[in-house]
């Protein structure tokens, strides 16, 4: 019995060289992200989630294909659109939804919220909310690994908007100058908040920015999870082998607003509708059935299983306790007796 509850005999897909079980696992994760985000949106509308919340709907193939290509020892760090990334790293829907509801059972004990989820036991180093701010930190994770003498790869995800801020350039420059094992992954969803890429960036293809650092790069369709997986696998291998950073641009589109409070005046509904025809889950569903990796009914069974799992996760999150008032003062410092 595999993780998603189906009895599957692993068979290699002739076309892709990936076993069936792994492909179905990826399908499961994409559907899980979609459902968690949809339920999250409902809970937000119901006033149960505070602050900012940025949904991953439409971008599921990016994180799923990318993280499926990592080894467990490879580190993942991302920006604030992080719920899906957390799920792909193996964080449970329970913990993600509990964090959204600010509960003590959440990834960050309810002290981080939507934008600040992490689980270092899963090698997921967060959710960071300052645009571009986590890029030098990602370089630092790789400095730590380089210093320790291992060949772990740090996978650092960020949006197209982050490539226009100075942090990006300091981090990419340092990573190349020092030979750090970082896979820089730009999720180009065409808008930094509401500003289209070509209105904010000197070059429209983000991968071109690697050229200034003599860094290898690639660009891939982020609506096709198998293409994302293949490009990511190659890039991670290259980073590990060459001990050099790599910039991977993954082109994608978010179907929902930048955050929950987005009037979406910067794009037309026709554009959104057109992209929705390239739904990454729909595309992958069609691929799986066409290649006979799974039947419609097998995939429907996964859909149903996910729906039940997410329903239970919402119940778990709602039933979980609030953090105690003592939690207010814990973890300000790690040392004891650090009175303020």
């Amino acid at each position: 019995m595999d993780k998603i509850g189906l009895v599957i005999i692993p068979v290699l897909s002739l076309e892709r060289g990936m076993d069936k079980e792994k492909q179905l696992q990826m399908y499961y994760e994409m559907v899980l992200i979609r459902r968690v985000e949809e339920r999250g949106a409902e809970l937000y509308q119901a006033g149960k989630i505070g602050g900012f919340m940025h949904l991953y709907i439409g971008q599921e193939a990016v994180s799923t294909g990318l993280i499926a290509a990592r080894e467990p020892r490879d580190r993942v760090i991302t920006a604030y659109r992080d719920h899906g990334v957390a799920l792909n790293c193996g964080v449970s829907a329970n913990e993600v939804l509990a964090e959204l509801l600010g509960k003590v059972t959440g990834t960050s004990k309810g002290k981080g919220g939507s934008m600040h989820m992490a689980d270092t036991s899963k090698n997921f180093w967060g959710g960071h909310a300052i645009v571009g701010g986590h890029l030098p930190v990602a370089a630092g994770l790789a400095i730590g690994d380089q210093y320790a003498g291992n060949d772990n790869v740090t996978i650092c995800m960020f949006g197209d908007g982050a490539t226009n801020i100075g942090y990006f350039h300091e981090a990419l420059n340092l990573s190349k100058a020092w030979g750090l094992r970082v896979l820089w992954v730009c999720e180009n969803n065409m808008y930094g908040m509401g500003t289209a890429v070509d209105r904010a960036s000197a070059v429209s293809q983000i991968r071109q920015k690697a050229d200034g650092y003599g860094m290898a790069s690639d660009r891939v369709d982020g609506m096709d999870v198998m293409q994302v997986y293949e490009a990511s696998r190659k890039a991670i291998e290259q980073v590990r082998t060459d001990s050099q950073p790599f910039l991977l641009e993954i082109n994608t589109y978010r179907f929902r607003g930048h955050s929950m409070g987005d009037p979406e005046r910067y794009r037309k509904q026709e554009e959104v509708k057109k992209w929705e025809e390239s739904d990454p889950i729909g595309i992958f569903h069609a691929q799986l059935t066409k290649k006979k990796v799974a039947t419609d009914s097998q995939l429907s069974a996964i859909d149903e299983k996910v729906a039940a799992e997410v329903t239970k996760a919402v119940e778990f999150a709602e039933a979980s306790p609030e953090p105690s008032m003592e939690e207010l003062f814990t973890d300000v410092y790690a040392d004891e007796n650090s009175n303020q």
Partner: protein, 324 residues
């Protein structure tokens, strides 16, 4: 016990900690081949090599952000900012990352990180290279801020900072590297967050730290000639702030002067005075006085710069005023 300079004390602390713990390494601008802008890490590159003494690009976000990342995965980086003025370039990393990540992720990882930064005026470096912005950094919970005024404290506090599991901003004063003082031999740590009485007296309490200690000692010597006995409490750490010895001294003298090199408004003196008013109001015999920098960007011209910086004479005048 040997009499050594502040520079030697800091250098010794770094070397001893690097020898003791292989996870400690240094990174910063010109820390390696050059030997450190203030020669604190002279000889380190030859002794430890480029892996442990990392010359960085001139890129403060990468330096502090990189050190934070390395600390998150268990190393103990000591990142050097050539001057604390460059900390403003890295403000996001100090304020939004170092001071927050442990708390924000529910304590999942620690940040055993030291940021060494050289601050202070008096070297005719002009307005952008002469600031004493220590109080700004002490504002943020999650960060520890240490600023020693003697070689012994510098050595003991830096060793403690390196062993701390929290991010520590360690502020050195640019004009004090040649300051000499007795430093105990061996592995002596001074806990972060402990103020210390550096001079005993019964008439007035001076609360100070870093360069202010030098001014205050000088002023106290002069005042002693007139029979005024000053007690000097050195804060040594601005966060956590240890008010115990300050209040104890104040309850004895009932008069206080606070001496700092930074600007008066919203400064260390503002904080300490408030705490005295809040916690020892009944002991007040005179309003608390603050001695600090004039409220101007520091000028280049030597006379103007010295006029803007607090001097021992200003301390003497303030002491006499609270004794009126």
């Amino acid at each position: 016990m040997a009499k050594i300079t502040m520079r030697e004390a800091i250098s010794q602390a770094l070397m001893e900690e690097m020898d003791r713990d292989p996870s400690v390494f240094i990174m910063g601008e010109e820390v390696g081949v050059w030997g450190g802008s203030y020669a604190v890490t002279k000889g380190f590159f030859d002794k430890y090599g480029p892996q442990r003494v990392k010359d960085t690009p001139i890129a403060e976000n990468a330096i502090i952000g990189g050190a934070i990342g390395a600390a998150m995965v268990g190393q103990r980086p000591v990142a050097e900012l050539m001057t604390i003025n460059f900390a403003f370039s890295a403000m996001d990393y100090i304020v939004n990352q170092a001071a927050k990540l442990h708390y924000m992720f529910g304590g999942q990882f620690t940040l055993p990180l030291v940021i060494r930064a050289v601050g202070g005026g008096g070297r005719q470096l002009g307005a952008t290279h002469s600031q004493t912005p220590d109080a700004i950094f002490a504002h943020f919970p999650g960060l520890k801020v240490v600023a020693p005024g003697t070689p012994a404290d510098a050595k003991g506090l830096l060793k403690a900072a390196i062993r701390s599991n929290d991010p520590v901003l360690f502020i050195e004063h640019a004009t004090m590297y040649q300051t000499r003082g007795e430093v105990p031999d061996g592995d002596v740590l001074i806990p972060i967050g402990q103020s210390k009485v550096q001079r005993e007296g019964k008439d007035v309490t001076i609360v100070t730290y870093s360069k202010g200690l030098e001014l205050s000692m000088k002023a106290a010597d002069e005042l002693a000639k007139e029979g005024i006995q000053v007690e000097i409490v050195d804060l040594r750490s601005l966060r956590p702030l240890d008010m115990g010895p300050v209040l104890e001294s104040f309850k004895k003298t009932n008069r206080a002067v606070i001496v700092e090199e930074g600007w008066k408004s919203y400064g260390v003196g503002s904080e300490v005075a408030s705490r005295i008013y809040e916690e020892a109001f009944d002991y007040l015999d005179a309003p608390v006085k603050r001695v600090a920098q004039k409220e101007v960007p520091l000028p280049y011209n030597r006379n103007l710069e010295q006029a803007a910086l607090p001097q021992a004479e200003d301390v003497i005048a303030a002491v006499k005023e609270v004794l009126k």
